[in-house]
Symmetry: C2
C-alpha cells in the first residue's frame, strides 16, 4: 500500500503484505550462527572467517518450479531438497559446510507454504549444522537458488580429475530410488491424484535426498577423485572419466539398487540405477590395493560402499552384464541408453 507520488511498476517483496524484512525475520532468521560465521543475516554481506590453511569451496544450485519440482510437491520436501542438492556439491569436494545463502523467488507470500518450506530446509540445516547466513527474496515465478560455502584443508579437495587406471569405482548407498519417486509423482499427476505427504515412503529418495557430507570428509587424503550423482551414474561417471582422461568398466550386477526397485522388470531397474538422477550418492575412485579398507569405512559411516567396477586407461564407460557382454553400446549414457 504505497502512497508514493509515482507509480512503482516493478514491485518487489518490500511492497508485499508481508515485507521482505518481516518474511526473512519470520521464516529464515535465527539460523545464521556457526563456527566461522563472523556476521550473519542483516547487513549488505555475510562475513565468514575460514580457519587458517583452508580453501573455500563454493557452489550454487537452482531449483525451478515445473522443472525440478512439481507445483504441488510438499513444500517441506522442496526446502529439504534445495539445500540437500547444493550441499551435495560440498560433499563431492570433501568440504565441511560453513553456511548457505538462500535466494528465494516467490509469486506471492503464502505463509503456510513458506512455513513448511522453511521447516523442511531448517530441519536439514539444523541436523547437518549448516547456518543459513544470508539470501535474497524477490517476487516472480517460484524458484530457489541455494549458494553453499564450505572449507577444506588446502590441497585436499576431491576433484573430478585424478582417477587412474585400475583404481576401483565405488559408489555409496543405493541407486535408482529417486527415480522411483519421480515416476510415482508423474503417474499420480497424470491420474489426477492428491499430493503425497512429505514422508511418503515411495518418494523418500526423491523428496529427501541425503547429502553425503561425512563420507566426503572421510575420503580426504584417501582418494583424490569424487563426484556426486545428480545427473545419473553413467553421466556423472562420464564427467569423472572426461576430467581424468580415462575410461571405466562397470559390472551391471554389482550396481547397488534401491530396495524400491525390487519389483521392477530387471531392464528397467538397471536403467533406473544407471541413469536415474537425483540420488545424490557419491561416486569415487579408490586404490585397488586398499580395497579391504572400504568395509571398516562403510561400517564407521553406517553407509554401504560398493565396488561396481574399475577405471581403465581409455575407452569410455562400459557396462558389462554377468556374462561379460556389454549392456550399453555407447559411452554417452543417458542419451543413447537402450535396454534389450
Amino acid at each position: 500500500m504505497s502512497t508514493s507520488p509515482f507509480p512503482r511498476n516493478m514491485p518487489d517483496m518490500a511492497h508485499a503484505p508481508l515485507s521482505e524484512f518481516e518474511l526473512i525475520a519470520r521464516f529464515f532468521a535465527d539460523r545464521d550462527r556457526g563456527p566461522g560465521i563472523s556476521l550473519g543475516v542483516g547487513d549488505d554481506c555475510t562475513l565468514i572467517s575460514p580457519r587458517p590453511g583452508q580453501q573455500l569451496a563454493v557452489s550454487v544450485d537452482t531449483m525451478v518450479c515445473g522443472t525440478h519440482f512439481f507445483p504441488d510437491q510438499p513444500p517441506a520436501a522442496v526446502g529439504h531438497k534445495a539445500l540437500a542438492a547444493a550441499l551435495s556439491d560440498l560433499a563431492a569436494m570433501g568440504a565441511e559446510p560453513l553456511g548457505a545463502l538462500l535466494a528465494l523467488t516467490l509469486p506471492q507470500v503464502d505463509e503456510a507454504w513458506l512455513q513448511a518450506f522453511s521447516d523442511g530446509m531448517g530441519a536439514l540445516a539444523d541436523r547437518l549444522k549448516v547456518p543459513l547466513i544470508g539470501g535474497d527474496t524477490t517476487r516472480g515465478p517460484l524458484a530457489i537458488s541455494v549458494t553453499v560455502l564450505g572449507q577444506v584443508p588446502s590441497g585436499s579437495a576431491l576433484r573430478r580429475a585424478g582417477a587412474e587406471p585400475n583404481a576401483l569405482v565405488v559408489v555409496s548407498g543405493t541407486l535408482g530410488g529417486a527415480f522411483v519417486g519421480l515416476q510415482a509423482e508423474q503417474e499420480r499427476r497424470e491420474a489426477g491424484g492428491e499430493p503425497p505427504a512429505v514422508d511418503d515412503p515411495l518418494r523418500h529418495r526423491f523428496f529427501r535426498p541425503e547429502p553425503r557430507i561425512a563420507l566426503g570428509k572421510a575420503l580426504r587424503g584417501r582418494t583424490r577423485t569424487a563426484i556426486d550423482l545428480s545427473d545419473g551414474l553413467l553421466a556423472d561417471l562420464g564427467h569423472i572419466c572426461a576430467a581424468s582422461g580415462c575410461g571405466a568398466i562397470l559390472q551391471a550386477e554389482a550396481v547397488p539398487r534401491d530396495p524400491l526397485l525390487a519389483d521392477w522388470p530387471p531392464g528397467k531397474a538397471l536403467a533406473a540405477a544407471l541413469s536415474g538422477g537425483d540420488d545424490y550418492e557419491l561416486l569415487f575412485a579408490w586404490p585397488a590395493r586398499q580395497r579391504d579398507e572400504l568395509r571398516p569405512l562403510a561400517a564407521a559411516l553406517q553407509l554401504p560402499l560398493t565396488v561396481i567396477g574399475e577405471f581403465t586407461a581409455g575407452g569410455g564407460v562400459q557396462v558389462l552384464d554377468a556374462a561379460g557382454s556389454p549392456v550399453l553400446p555407447t559411452e554417452r549414457g543417458f542419451d543413447h541408453f537402450r535396454v534389450d
Copy 2:
C-alpha cells in the same frame, strides 16, 4: 532428443539443443581465473584461497524478468546490472571482489540474447577484474541470481551499524538518475515504443549502474558505517539508523541530484533523489572533524562525495528544506512520502 527408455518430464538444460555444458563453455567460460581462485568452472565447487588475515564477504542478488527488468530490456543491460547490483553489496562492505557465481534460469536457449547478456556482464567483470567462477544453468522463467564473494581485512568491513550522533551523512555521486530511466522505460512501454539501445543516455543509470568498489575499499579504516543505495536514500539511510540506533537529519537542498532531473518539477525531482532506488551509490558516516578530508578523497576517486546531513541521537530520519522546515512528516520514507 533423448532415447531414454523412460520419459523424463522434468527437463533441464542438459536436454536443450545447446546443452548446459556447451552453453557455459560458449558464453561464460574463460573468465574464471584470478588472484585467490584455485579452481574455477568445471568441478562440483569452485575453490577459493583468500589471503591470510582476510574475512570473506558473501552476498546474493536475484533479478527476475518482469519484476526487476522488462522482457525487452537490452540483454547487455540485464547482464551488466545483475552483476553490478551484487557487486554493490561488496562495495558497501569495503570488500575487494574475488569472484562471482551466476545462476541463470532461461525459458529457452536464445543464442543472440545469451551472447549480448554475456557481453554485458563480461565487460563489467573484465573492467573490475571480477572472475566468473561458477554457476548453474536451469530451464524456467527468466531470472538471474548472482552470488559474489569478496575479501576484506579482518575487522575492517563496513557495516550498517556503528553510525554515531554528529557524524556526517555523506553520499557518493548523484541520485535519482536510475529513476529517470525507469520512468522513461515505463512510458515507452505504455506508448508501445521500440526497445532502446543499451547505451541510451536517458537510461544510463537505470541500465548500467556502477558498483562503487574503489570507494568502499578507500573507506576502510576511515569509517565503520556504509550502505549501498538500492532501495532509495531514505529507506537505506533508515536501515543504517535502525542498525546503529540513531537518527539523521538531511538537508533537502544538499542532496546531489542527477543532471537528468534538471527539467523535472522540484517536488518530483526531490522525490526521485530521496526515494528512487537502484542508483547503487554509497551512503556512509564520516567523522565531522575530518570533513576536510572528503575533498581530496573525492578528487582521488574522481567521484563526488557530498555531505547531505548528519546523524542524530534519535528521532528517525528527517529531511529539512532550505527554510529548515521538515519536508517529510514521518521517518518511514517511501511509504509515507508526500510532496506539497
